[in-house]
Amino acid sequence: MFIQVENVSKVYQVGKFKVNALKNINMSLERGKFCVILGPSGSGKTTFLNIIGGIDRPDEGKVIVDGEEITGYDDKALTNYRRRKLGFVFQFYNLVNSLTVYENVLSTKYLSEDGLDPKEVLEVVGMWEHRDKYPFEISGGEQQRVAIARAVVKNPAIILCDEPTGALDFENAKKVLRLLEDINRKYGTTIIIATHNTAISQMSHKIIKLRSGELTEFVDNATPLSAEEVVW
């Protein structure tokens, strides 16, 4: 298995209270799959994504990615792991405002020895013409396309997306989903999307459903729809 999650739990201390963000999660995912984590706000989606992404550590259990147990890594090793294997897409894009579109993409290309051509990737996401603009000069949908280009350009094995369409209107959201689908197909990148939008799960190979930190369903979707067909 490309990604294997075994008995992962995570507890947060909020004031005097303990919040079980994740409770004994088990799942696995093959390389090149398109996976959606579904759940309402506070269900543990982001925490789960962060643990797979090496941004956070579980209190219990282990996560193995491409044969490496990342839960045993120190900060330095986790940085290396993110550097080699991962791309991130966030709900609010998180582009670096002091860098142009092109420079934002270049920032991750720099991290990879076998990255893709930034020009090619920006053309794929339809942002090459806007390459010299700063993030605050383009729309939210365009910013998210740049964020995807930034994640893709280093040719990572996995792209983690946290509510990638959450801040976008329907048209722009569809464009973003189409893009992620294309990338999954063209580059064989494993894509994991955390979202509360159930419609998006129709285009995935695997669906993970979380509620209050517990995995309630883990299902295979034998007949995923194309992004074009997804509506909500």
Partner: protein
């Protein structure tokens, strides 16, 4: 309620504000410690010399003068002074009789000596553990120490007039009654008279004295090293303290401006909302102007007060060099006012300008925050595209906030200046002494007779002659020596270190610097005793930095100045000569001078260490504040980069890397800045003294300065990098989900 904002933000961003507060503290502290010391020394000195009737001049004759007659004729007060040197172990106490008309002794503690008692100067007493009530045996006769004394003509207590530094461990002065003194002086070799009062025509006064009593030497107060050093030191200390305090204040206010502006910009939404709710510009300004007020309160006030308190020990350190009796500590209201209130002016302006720009905008613009639009236009710079990613980000960040880099450059340049000044002042003084007294003046003993000699009775010694002159039209005193043509004990060299043949008239570099003279120039001089005028052509300038002196070979000297062939007034020797005391005016041992210097280096080292600490601390604070400011405002971006997989080192290079260039640039600017500053200081401080400090920063000095400042730089970088390390990549995620 809103008044709580500034203190809370200062607490939140304490790493920035503590640094600024410390700098303001340092500025007030430095200003007050210096100005209070200078004012105290200055006023006490002036009171002392006035009240205790400091001389206007003194002179030495071969025959005793008729005091009453001369006093009447010139309407002055004259008093004869007697002295004898009591030598024991390697120490000397020079005792004088108690005078009543001129240069009267001030008893600092204890009482004026009665018969069988002496009073001595407090610095010597302290260094030799002599207390009031102790008994000392002077040549076998016991004397009780009745008190501590200060003398108006021995403010800078040097054994010889030519000594550069006092040596309180080995040399001191004291007083005793004339009756007691007679036990030690059976006959006198010369007569020493001190004069108080103004003589309009000094030249005719000298001619008058010379014709009747054979004038041996004459010295006005302005030429008396033991008197004028104090005035010069105070004069030179002031600009140094002003420059230091003002520059630290300027740098701190620039820092405050930068920090405050960032805080205000980051709070644009809150400020805009307050504005929208109906707060006036004045009310909002009043809230934010509290930042400079608190900085002043926590920095300048304690700094100023501590500066005043610590000025006591600084005054003590200071008067251990120049022996000004601090009769009463002056509370210099003006200095304290400036030291404490000047920072609020700097800080206030800085705070006002930081908020003014924002409040000029419309409410909607303030709420939106306009900062980024401006930078979009500025920084689309084509050439950056050709650089590597890391480099272009680094340059972009620097160009985005050029004022920060300018403050680093200024701060480092200023730190380098202080540090280099400290290092080179120390080494210049040691070079001056060692180079002069080991390489040039190779004699161990120098003797000056009270009358011209003809027979060279002492083998293993070299003859010399000397006369004292003024440069025509000035008060600059020049001593010209006639020495043996192939002298082994005075080895004069040119600036290429080649030995100079003693043909014609050569002068010291110190004199050349002072009078702006070069080889081939004519120097017009007037004999201080007989007023005769001479024009001397300068054939060479020799690499000698002590003394307004000129040299000729003895034959040429005697011929030029109309002295008998073969006449000489003194001897240089390697070994001690047995010359009867009554034949001598001066006998000097070079080892005394070297000892004095070695003792004084300890105090100099303490001052140097303080300078190292101040400059290290300043460079460190400035770089650290600005680095942590960059980190704080880029917290989110750093977090994004961390998620993307950037390492701490890479982020440090990208965001703080330009500091390396600014640091280096600042350091390089510091070198020429130092040279101009030194010229200014040397001109102010040493223009009336008869030595030049060869102060220039050699490779070793520059290297040492660099190492120390680089240490501060590395430390601040290390701490900044740790701060980057502490930024969690999860910040972005958390802020996004909030």
């Amino acid at each position: 309620m809103l008044n709580k904002i500034p203190l809370r933000i200062m607490w939140r961003d304490k790493s920035h504000f503590i640094g600024i507060i410390l700098l303001v503290f340092l500025a007030s502290f430095v200003y007050n410690i210096f100005s209070v010391t200078m004012t105290n020394v200055d006023i006490n000195y002036k009171n002392f010399v006035e009240k205790y009737k400091q001389e206007n001049f003194h002179f030495i004759t071969f025959f005793p003068i008729d005091i009453e007659e001369i006093e009447k004729k010139y309407n002055v007060e004259i008093e004869e002074k007697f002295n004898f040197d009591y030598n024991y172990d390697d120490k000397t106490i020079r005792f004088f009789n108690i005078t009543e008309k001129v240069n009267n002794p001030l008893i600092l503690e204890g009482k004026i000596p009665s018969l069988g008692e002496v009073a001595i100067d407090p610095n010597f007493s302290q260094n030799n553990n002599l207390k009031i009530g102790d008994t000392i045996n002077i040549n076998g006769i016991p004397f009780k120490i009745s008190g501590y004394v200060a003398l108006p003509d021995y403010i800078y207590i040097t054994k010889n007039e030519t000594d550069i530094l006092p040596d309180p461990s080995h040399f001191g002065v004291g007083i005793m009654n004339m009756e007691d003194m007679k036990k030690f002086i059976s006959s006198v070799a010369y007569r020493y008279y001190m004069v108080r009062g103004k003589v309009n025509d000094i030249d005719s006064f000298k001619a008058d004295i010379n014709s009747k009593y054979n004038l041996i030497s004459f010295q006005e107060k302005d030429e008396n090293w033991r008197i004028i050093v104090t005035e010069k030191k105070v004069e030179s200390g002031k600009p140094l303290s002003y420059v230091m305090a003002f520059t630290i204040l300027l740098i701190s206010s620039l820092l405050l401006f930068i920090v405050l502006r960032r805080i205000i910009n980051s709070m644009h939404r809150e400020i805009g909302t307050l504005y929208a709710l109906g707060y006036t510009k004045g009310e909002i300004t009043r809230i934010y102007i509290m930042f400079p007020f608190y900085i002043w309160l926590f920095g300048a006030i304690p700094g100023g007060i501590l500066g005043y308190i610590y000025s006591d020990s600084f005054i003590n350190l200071y008067v251990s060099f120049i022996s000004v009796p601090i009769v009463e500590k002056i509370f210099p209201v003006k200095d304290l006012f400036v030291g404490i209130f000047l920072p609020i002016v700097f800080m206030g302006f800085s705070g006002f300008f930081a908020i003014r720009d924002l409040l000029r905008k419309k409410v909607v613009e303030i709420i939106k925050g306009e900062a980024e639009k401006a930078f979009k236009v500025k920084f689309r710079i084509g050439f950056l595209d050709k650089l590597s990613f890391k480099l272009r980000i680094m340059i972009k960040h620097a160009l985005l906030h050029p004022s920060r880099e300018i403050v680093i450059i200024l701060g480092v340049a200023f730190s380098a200046l202080i540090l280099m000044y400290g290092i080179t002042a120390g080494s210049a003084l040691s070079n001056l002494v060692y180079d002069t007294f080991q390489n040039t003046f190779r004699y161990n003993y120098m003797y000056v007779f009270n009358f011209y000699q003809k027979d060279h009775r002492y083998p293993n010694s070299e003859r010399f002659n000397m006369l004292s002159f003024y440069k025509e039209g000035t008060k600059t005193r020049i001593t010209i020596y006639g020495i043996e043509k192939k002298s082994q004990l005075i080895v004069l060299r040119d600036n290429k270190r080649n030995r100079v043949d003693l043909e014609g008239f050569v002068i010291s570099q110190a004199l050349a610097d002072k009078l702006n003279l070069k080889e081939g120039d004519m120097l017009k001089v007037i004999n201080t005793i007989d007023g005769k005028r001479y024009s001397l052509k300068i054939s060479k300038i020799v690499d000698l930095f002590v003394g307004n002196t000129g040299y000729m070979n003895l034959e040429e000297f005697n011929k030029t100045f109309g002295l008998e062939d073969g006449a000489f007034i003194g001897l240089y020797s390697i070994d001690k000569l047995n010359i009867p005391e009554e034949e001598l005016i001066v006998s000097m041992s070079k080892s005394d001078l070297m000892k004095a210097f070695e003792d004084s280096t300890e105090s100099v080292n303490q001052i140097l260490q303080m300078m190292y600490i101040v400059s290290f601390f300043m460079a460190f604070i400035i770089i650290y504040i600005l680095s942590s400011l960059i980190i704080t405002e880029n917290r989110k971006t750093l977090s994004i980069f961390k998620i993307l997989g950037f390492r701490d080192g890479e982020l440090s290079t990208m965001f703080l890397g330009f500091n390396n260039i600014s640091f280096l640039f600042g350091f390089l600017i510091g070198i020429p800045l130092y040279s101009s500053f030194i010229k200014y200081i040397v001109n102010v401080a040493l223009r009336d003294l008869d030595f030049s400090l060869k102060m220039y920063a050699g490779f070793k000095d520059i290297w040492l300065t660099f190492i120390i400042l680089f240490g501060a730089f590395i430390l601040s970088k290390y701490l900044s990098r740790r701060r980057i390390g502490k930024i969690s990549p999860a910040i972005v995620i958390k802020e996004q989900t909030e």
